[in-house]
Symmetry: C2
Subunit: 79 residues, 2 copies
């Protein structure tokens, strides 16, 4: 099974990396860019075909390792 | 308009960060994780409502700044 995990900073957390990207895009002439937030995309290949088990496991992987729940939100899709 | 840009390493490019995450997940007991690839998710807020223009612009932003076309692939969604 293939899973995609999306990790994003919580809305109330500042994103200096996103701000730097926004400024760089403005410098390239893309003045209509209002806001940029940078997050992570983690693609995971899993053995087995028990979807329920995989979902439980992904939830745990995200909460324990892939995301920092204090400042980040996560969601995942299982193919 | 809101856009989501997904930047991933090309399949033939090694991903040491992904391998480190895989090993860490194994150490946590998630032995069914076969492969991990880490990419970027860039969320962009754009002014204006001309979808065609936004798509052209996003294509350029990705090719010039957000992704390194030598080693990375990108795709984007416009909401």
């Amino acid at each position: 099974m293939k899973a995609k995990v999306y990790v994003t900073l919580k809305t109330e957390v500042l994103d200096p990396q996103g701000d730097a990207v926004r400024r760089a895009l403005h410098a390239l002439g893309h003045d209509d860019v209002k806001k940029v937030r940078v997050g992570k995309l983690v693609e995971i290949d899993l053995d087995g075909d028990d979807r329920a088990k995989a979902e439980t496991e992904l939830q745990e992987m995200c909460a324990k390792l892939l995301a920092n729940p204090v400042i980040e939100d996560f969601r995942f899709e299982l193919e």
